[in-house]
Structure formats: structure tokens, C-alpha cells
């Protein structure tokens, strides 16, 4: 199977409702950062989930970093899909590390991530950052 092309979507101040994306095939590391409250979550996230599925067929470990400091509930459905994709990868023997960065000033995020853990069955490293 051929290597996948990396996905890089930088932050755009004109459209702050899209998170930045860095899916790096060689490094085996994916990062979503910023905010996520776009009008059409499926249109944005489905290609990312397709990439992730293709990645999981090719490699045996992944690091997924969430640096989302706001996402709406529609986006949360897509985030759960990412978790489920990673869980399937783990069940097939893949190594999965998930890091979730959250601001000290947003304690509610901890509960939100705990629920993703409970719903997906995956462990998440919660990393508090200043701000």
C-alpha cells in the first residue's frame, strides 16, 4: 500500500470555526487544534476520518493530539467517530496514544473528555495548560 499524503490545514482567522489540522503520516501523529463549530461538520470531518481509516490499515501506532478549546455538540459527534476509529485500530493490535490539552480556565472540558473515554473505551492523557 502506498503512503498517504499528509493533511495540513492551517489556522485561518477569517474562518475561526474550522480547527487547524496536521495529520502527519511519517511521524504517525495527528493534531486538531483551535475551535470547531462549522456549519457542516460532516463535510469537514468525514475526509479526516477516511484518512484515519486508511492510516490504520497501513501503520501500527498513532499519537492523536486534541488541542480543541471549543467544539460544538455537532462536532462532538464527529470527535466521537474519531475515538471509535482509534478504538477499532487498538482492538486490531494498533498502539494508540491520545493526548487532550485543555485550559486551566475550562474545568468543564475534563468532564467532557471523561465522557469521550467512557463512550469509546479509550484512555486519554489529560494535559492541563495555563490560560
Amino acid at each position: 500500500m502506498e503512503n498517504l499524503k499528509n493533511i495540513v490545514i492551517p489556522v485561518n482567522k477569517e474562518t475561526p470555526y474550522f480547527p487547524s489540522v496536521e495529520f502527519d503520516y511519517e511521524k504517525g501523529e495527528c493534531t486538531l487544534a483551535g475551535e470547531s463549530y462549522m456549519e457542516d461538520c460532516y463535510k469537514f470531518y468525514n475526509p479526516l476520518i477516511d484518512w484515519l481509516n486508511a492510516y490504520c490499515e497501513r501503520k501500527n501506532s498513532i499519537i492523536f493530539n486534541f488541542k480543541l478549546y471549543y467544539f460544538n455538540t455537532q462536532s462532538s459527534r464527529m470527535i466521537l467517530k474519531i475515538f471509535e476509529t482509534l478504538m477499532k485500530f487498538k482492538e486490531k493490535g494498533g498502539q494508540v496514544e491520545i493526548n487532550w490539552y485543555y485550559y486551566q480556565s475550562d474545568p468543564d472540558m475534563v468532564e467532557e473528555v471523561e465522557d469521550f473515554q467512557r463512550e469509546s473505551g479509550l484512555e486519554v492523557n489529560l494535559i492541563e495548560i495555563n490560560g
Binding site: Y17, E39, D40, N72, T73, Q74, S76, R77, L80, Y103
Partner: protein, 174 residues
């Protein structure tokens, strides 16, 4: 009693199409206003989008002026501060037949504890058997979880076909 725009407790208000860029700009303004109270500010920000994006998507009154926006629901919102709490309200037109569904749903959410709401949110964010499932309700569940307060709502008849739906979320200032 209806709020007047001259009421000093009103911190922010808007009436018109809820295009995403309008909401994004308003939310940025809201964040600036409450930046010295970061926990409250984060809660306001989250609730603001849940409420206003429901209007953008589900208002029975739509503005199709700009075709590049997917949703252009028309409505209004106010952000009001008093008694150590901030209330965000949105108002929009709904079809009269949707009123009892909304009332049932709001009552259901208000009857639940925060823990029960978290369980309910988990259930609602799974793929829904009904492809027409709007996803609007999960936003209201989220409001209950974040504010830990009961939501308030009012439905006023407008005509034989339409009503006016106002929903209010209260965020305690921390």
C-alpha cells in the same frame, strides 16, 4: 416583562440572520467582555453557540441572501447580566406544530440531574436511527450540563401557523 434595548442590564443584543460569521464576531465580542472571568467566559461562549446555532439551523424564518452560507435562520439574542448571573436568550419563529415537541423536550431536560444529562448526551451523540434527527436537542442537553441550571422558555402564538420560541440559559458568574 419584555426587555428594552435601553435596559442597562443588557450587555449585547442582535436581531437578524444568524450567519456563522455574525455569530463568530459576536462570540468574540462576548469573550472580550468577560475575559477577566475566564471560567464564566468559557461557559458563556459554549452556550452562546449552542443556542444561536440552533436558531441558525432551525428557525422557521430563513434569510437566503448569501448563498454561500448553509444556514441563515433569523432570530434575535440578548445577553443580560444581573444578580451575579448572565442570561443568554434567543428568540425565533417556529412552526406551531413544533411547539409541543419543544415543550416536552425542555421539560424532559429540566427534570434530569447533571449526571443523567451526561448519560443522555452520550446516547444522543451516537448515530441516530432516524436520519432526520435534527441534533438540536443535544445542544440543549449541553446547556443543562454546562450551566447546571434549569433552562427557561416561553412560547407565544404569532399566527395560525407560527409561534415565537424564546429560550434562556442562566450562567452563574464565578
Amino acid at each position: 416583562m419584555a426587555l428594552s434595548i435601553n435596559d442597562s442590564s443588557i450587555k449585547l443584543a442582535y436581531k437578524g440572520p444568524f450567519y456563522i460569521d455574525v455569530l463568530s464576531g459576536m462570540a468574540g465580542h462576548l469573550r472580550q467582555m468577560y475575559k477577566l472571568k475566564p471560567i464564566t467566559c468559557n461557559r458563556l461562549y459554549k452556550i452562546f453557540f449552542e443556542l444561536t446555532q440552533n436558531v441558525a439551523k432551525y428557525s422557521a424564518e430563513m434569510c437566503n441572501l448569501y448563498q454561500h452560507y448553509k444556514y441563515g435562520g433569523i432570530g434575535s439574542f440578548t445577553v443580560e447580566e444581573n444578580n451575579n448571573a448572565i442570561r443568554i436568550s434567543t428568540t425565533n419563529v417556529i412552526k406551531i406544530e413544533d411547539a409541543p415537541i419543544l415543550v416536552k423536550y425542555c421539560n424532559e431536560i429540566n427534570s434530569m440531574s447533571v449526571e443523567a444529562l451526561r448519560e443522555y448526551r452520550s446516547l444522543k451523540r451516537r448515530p441516530q436511527p432516524d436520519p432526520g434527527d435534527s441534533g438540536a436537542y443535544i445542544g440543549i442537553i449541553q446547556i443543562g450540563i454546562i450551566t447546571k441550571n434549569k433552562i427557561e422558555w416561553v412560547i407565544e402564538p404569532l399566527s395560525e401557523r407560527f409561534s415565537l420560541f424564546t429560550i434562556t440559559a442562566k450562567v452563574d458568574i464565578e
